[in-house]
Amino acid sequence: MLDRRCNDLAEAFAGIGDGARVMVAGFGEAGRPNMLIKALLDSGIKDLDLISNNAGDGETGLAALFRAGRVRKLTCSFPRGAMQDVMLDLVTRGEMELEVMPQGTLAERIRAGGCGIPAFYTPTSFGTLVAEGKETREFDGRGHVLETALKAEIGLVKAHKADRFGNLTFENLARNFNPLIAAAATRTIVEADEIVELGDIDPHNVHSPGVFTNYVFTTQPVSEESWQDWRKSA
C-alpha cells in the first residue's frame, strides 16, 4: 500500500545526522513549512547545510534555526531583510558560511537536481562577480556560465492539499520553490493544510506528483512561544 501519511514528526527526521543538507521551500511566508521547520529545530540536528531563498525574519520559523546556531552554511539569493543583523553577526564571526547566487540560478540548480541534469549553462551573471572562477562558454554569440545541480537529503515542503500518494497542490504564490524541492530532495517531508481522499485532486491539477513525496503531515499551528523551546535545552 502506498501511504505517505504520517503522524510522528520525529519519524520523518529519524536517521538524519548533523551536517545534513536541508532545502526549505517558501518565498516570504507563502509556502513556508513552519511546522516542519519547528520539527527540524526540535530534532536537534545541527551544522545544517541549509538551502532557502530567504533568511526568514523575526524570532520564529527559519529565523529560530539561525538564532539557535543550527546552521553551518546558508545557500540563498537574498540574505538581507529583517534578519540581516543576525546574518551579519554569524558571518563576520565565522560561525556560518554564506553562499549567495541569483534567484533564477538557485531555482534552476534545484530543478536540475530533481531532474537528473548535473549542470547547465545560463546567461545570468555572465560578466559579473558571480561568474568569476566558473566555466563559461559562448552559445549563439552570447556568454553563458556553467552552474551545477543542487540536491539535498531532506526537503521541507508546504502544500495546500495532499493525498495519501503524496500528490500535492499549492495555493496562489505559495508554489514557488515547493515542487522543485520536492523533486530534488531524497526525503521529501510535506505539511499540507488538508489531506484529501485519492481522486479528490483532479489529475490535471496536481502541481507536484506523489512520486516525489515521502511523508505527508497535516499542518498544525505552532505556538509563538514554542519557538523559544530550544533556549531551554541549549
Partner: protein, 224 residues
C-alpha cells in the same frame, strides 16, 4: 528647474510601455510604474515569485499572505492571471519572454552596464535576488533612478565602479532630469526637464552626452 519626483519618473517611463507587453517591475522605485500604466493598453505584470497578471495592492480586509509580490507585499490578481513555480517563472525571464523589465540603479554606463545590487565587491551580505536573471533575460531593460546621489555624486558614469548586475543590458535610462537612450556605447538624451541647460546636465553626468535632433521637454505627468 524642478527635477521630477519618483512618481514623475515612473509616469514618464510608463509612457514607453507598449500595449500587449509582459513586464516585470523590480523591487523599490520601479514598483511605482504600476500606478501610471496608460489607459487603454493591456499590460501584464510579472513577479518572479510566480505570477503573470499581478493587480494592485488589496484592501486591508482582502490581504492573503499567499498572494504577495517579489517585494513580499500583498497583491491581487487580474482576470486572466496565471501562477507557476520558480523554475517556470525564471524560465519566462531567462527565455526572453518578457518584453520589458524595469530596474532601479546605482550606476549606469554608456556600454549598457548596470550596477544595482552591491556598492562593494566584498559585501559580507551580498543580496542579489532576481535582478541578475532579469537583467540577463528580459528583451529590454529600462532603468529608473535619480540622476545623481544625495550628495551630488555621479550615477550616470563612464564605467561602473560597483559590481555589475548585468553587462551591456540597459536600453533606456529614466532619471529625474532626463531620458537617455543607451545604444552603440553612447548616451543620447531624448527628453530633458525645462530650465536645465545641456551644459548643466553634462556637468551632472560622468560620461559624454549626445543629444537627439529633437529633445522633448520632460514634464511631470504624475502631477495631473
Amino acid at each position: 528647474m524642478t527635477p521630477l519626483t519618483r512618481d514623475g519618473i515612473a509616469a514618464r517611463l510608463a509612457q514607453d510601455i507598449e500595449d500587449g507587453w509582459h513586464v516585470n517591475l523590480g523591487i523599490g522605485m520601479p514598483e511605482l510604474v504600476a500606478n501610471y500604466l496608460p489607459e487603454g493598453r493591456e499590460i501584464l505584470l510579472h513577479s518572479e515569485n510566480g505570477i503573470l497578471g499581478m493587480g494592485p495592492y488589496p484592501e486591508e480586509k482582502d490581504i492573503d499572505w499567499t498572494l504577495i509580490n517579489a517585494g513580499k507585499k500583498p497583491i491581487t490578481t487580474v482576470r486572466g492571471a496565471s501562477f507557476f513555480d520558480h523554475a517556470w517563472s525564471f524560465g519566462i525571464v531567462r527565455g526572453g519572454h518578457l518584453e520589458l523589465c524595469v530596474l532601479g540603479g546605482y550606476q549606469v554606463a554608456p556600454n549598457g552596464d548596470l550596477a544595482n545590487w552591491a556598492r562593494r565587491a566584498d559585501d559580507p551580505l551580498p543580496s542579489i535576488g532576481g535582478a541578475m536573471d532579469l537583467a540577463a533575460g528580459a528583451q529590454r531593460i529600462y532603468v529608473m533612478m535619480t540622476h545623481t546621489d544625495k550628495n551630488g555624486g555621479l550615477k550616470v558614469v563612464d564605467k561602473c565602479s560597483y559590481p555589475l548586475t548585468g553587462a551591456g543590458v540597459v536600453r533606456r535610462l529614466f532619471t529625474d532630469l532626463c531620458v537617455i537612450d543607451v545604444a552603440d556605447g553612447q548616451f543620447t538624451v531624448t527628453d530633458m526637464i525645462a530650465g536645465l541647460s545641456r551644459d548643466e546636465l553634462q556637468a551632472r553626468t560622468g560620461a559624454p552626452l549626445r543629444f537627439a535632433d529633437k529633445v522633448a521637454t520632460l514634464g511631470n505627468l504624475a502631477a495631473a
